[in-house]
């Protein structure tokens, strides 16, 4: 930390010679880099957790943070960092995204993902994909290799194939616990939300969720990304907020990067991710105040449960949620923190 500070000062001094005005601010911003992630919000209570399970979640979040931070440390882009962090969480069956995605009513996985680059407001999203190993790589591919923002279903998979995304069969995505979750609710005609608080007979088994990441790279660029397996027993091609730019994901270097998790329908209706950015841009709120206003007031008034992670262009991080818990963590200036409960 001391070393970093010294470097910043040194940088600032050099730069002052060249550019003249406000170099400290510009350069301290450039050296600042950080990543914040979530693994879903919901009825996550200490009393329902075993030490082994807690360790497994913490381990997954830790590996994801390290993967993203390593990219940033080497001078990689925030887009690369959020993708690497999310791939770790998608590959970890404890989280409801990629491998470990919950099952829809027809016994299949339907995954959604999105990503946004705060530098140029480019964005990409896929919804209802079933065979892409890491849906976030497909979302990135839509952003970088197509003229489009959103692709759904088989068309999205066809496009991902042209990008060289890795595919996996249903055996890869199969997870016994997720399958058992489906059998439990299958005949109830109920879709179980990924925060697990609406049909809460057996909270122990309700490890639902979404995963997300927001990163700030050394060049001062923000990126945000979100990935999910949706709801257990979902029907009718339901799509939640995760692949919706403005609702589940948003990034803009002028304001902040945001990734959401919770009861998707409320997050769409509240345009949550962009609302945080709007409150910063139009009302001058800090990222903390803006996120709190949206999650703890506006969403609560609408009875929308969930949370979000957000970071501004100076690396200020906030992780508010209105549920009992949210898997979350950040890494900044070499310091790492991983949290689950309130």
């Amino acid at each position: 930390m001391k070393k970093l500070f010294f470097l910043v000062i040194l940088f600032a001094a050099c730069s002052q010679d060249k550019k003249g005005t406000e170099p400290e601010k510009a350069n301290s911003m450039k050296e600042q880099f950080a990543i914040v992630i979530h693994g879903g919000a919901g009825t996550i209570l200490k009393e329902n957790m075993t030490p082994e399970l807690e360790k497994a979640y913490q381990g997954g979040l830790d590996r994801a943070l390290e993967a993203g931070y390593a990219v940033l440390e080497k001078g990689g882009s925030s887009v690369e960092a959020v993708v690497e962090a999310i791939k770790v969480l998608e590959d970890d069956p404890h989280f409801n995204a990629g491998k470990g995605s919950v099952f829809s009513a027809d016994g299949k996985n339907e995954m959604d993902a999105s990503i946004m680059d705060g530098k140029n407001l480019m964005a990409g999203a896929v919804a209802g994909v079933r065979t892409i190993k890491n849906p976030i790589t497909a979302a990135r591919c839509v952003m970088e290799k197509s003229q489009h923002v959103m692709m759904v279903g088989k068309g999205a998979e066809e496009f991902a194939r042209t990008c060289g995304c890795e595919f996996a069969d249903t055996a890869y995505f199969f997870d016994q616990k997720r399958w058992d979750q489906l059998q439990k609710v299958k005949d109830t005609e109920q879709s179980v939300l990924d925060h697990g608080s609406t049909s809460a007979n057996d909270l122990k088994d309700k490890k639902f969720g979404t995963v997300g990441a927001v990163a700030l790279d050394k060049n001062g660029n923000l990126a945000a990304a979100t990935s999910t397996g949706g709801m257990t027993n979902k029907k009718y091609g339901r799509v939640g907020d995760s692949p919706i730019i403005g609702a589940g994901t948003y990034a803009n270097n002028k304001t902040c990067g945001v990734s959401c998790t919770g009861h998707g329908e409320f997050f769409i209706r509240s345009v949550v991710a962009y609302d945080v950015s709007s409150l910063m841009e139009y009302k001058g709120l800090s990222v903390e105040k803006a996120a709190e206003e949206v999650v703890m007031k506006k969403l609560v008034e609408l009875k929308g449960e969930g949370g979000l992670i957000a970071m501004d262009v100076k690396g200020n991080i906030t992780m508010p949620f209105n549920t009992p818990g949210m898997y979350r963590g950040y890494m900044k200036n070499g310091k790492k923190e991983i949290l689950i409960y309130k």
Copy 2:
């Protein structure tokens, strides 16, 4: 008009006796009702239009306005009014929505629609549906009869069937001109955007678009809705802004109702519909100023072509667009105006 004014005065007088304060304002707001619609923005130039075609467009817009206004006049809801107006435009093959939708690369129609109720922020959307006669009725059904906001593909059609939505076969949706449009671009590997200005060799044939409506009912409730056939030759399950709440459609009694039309990708990245609302809510801009800021400045900076219609809760209407033309019109206090060019 005189009669209406007399009624308002009468109402105000009665009400003053009962309630005491500011009854004129409250009641004039209650009596105020209006509808505004669009049939797509794009390279719509007088010199490329025949008198017959112009008449056909004007006729479609006129019938849609009358249908929506009739609902409002009878005291019907703004939700009902926007649905009735949009059904007229969906049924009219001149507009790219419902019958008359353009063809995707595989020679089929893929339609999207969304609706939002400003009273309670409820919303519904369908994307990539192929056999629902009026996609807007399916979007309404998702809003009113499901716990979800967005459904895509076959799942959305399955749900629409449970609601009693009317279905139609591919013969119903077939339109020779749309088919010819597809044949022209089929081998170019190009998707043709619904505003038609990017591949403009033959502007005469480029009658692309989206349809939308915003209404204010006698109870002071706003609603907004949008419906589209998307892009000619589109592939990979591409979804534009029309079914995205916050991007193509938004309504909130606190601010305004908005329906967009244009190059969908830019509208998603700019969260256009909600941005108009945010500028009103957080910066105190009027609906005119807010819409102008978004369409004529923010979208133009991003090179996003298109326009929108918006109305605030007092019935103030605005219809900005940054393209040569936009099919548009409104009806308010018995006065009707229909416009095409700048």
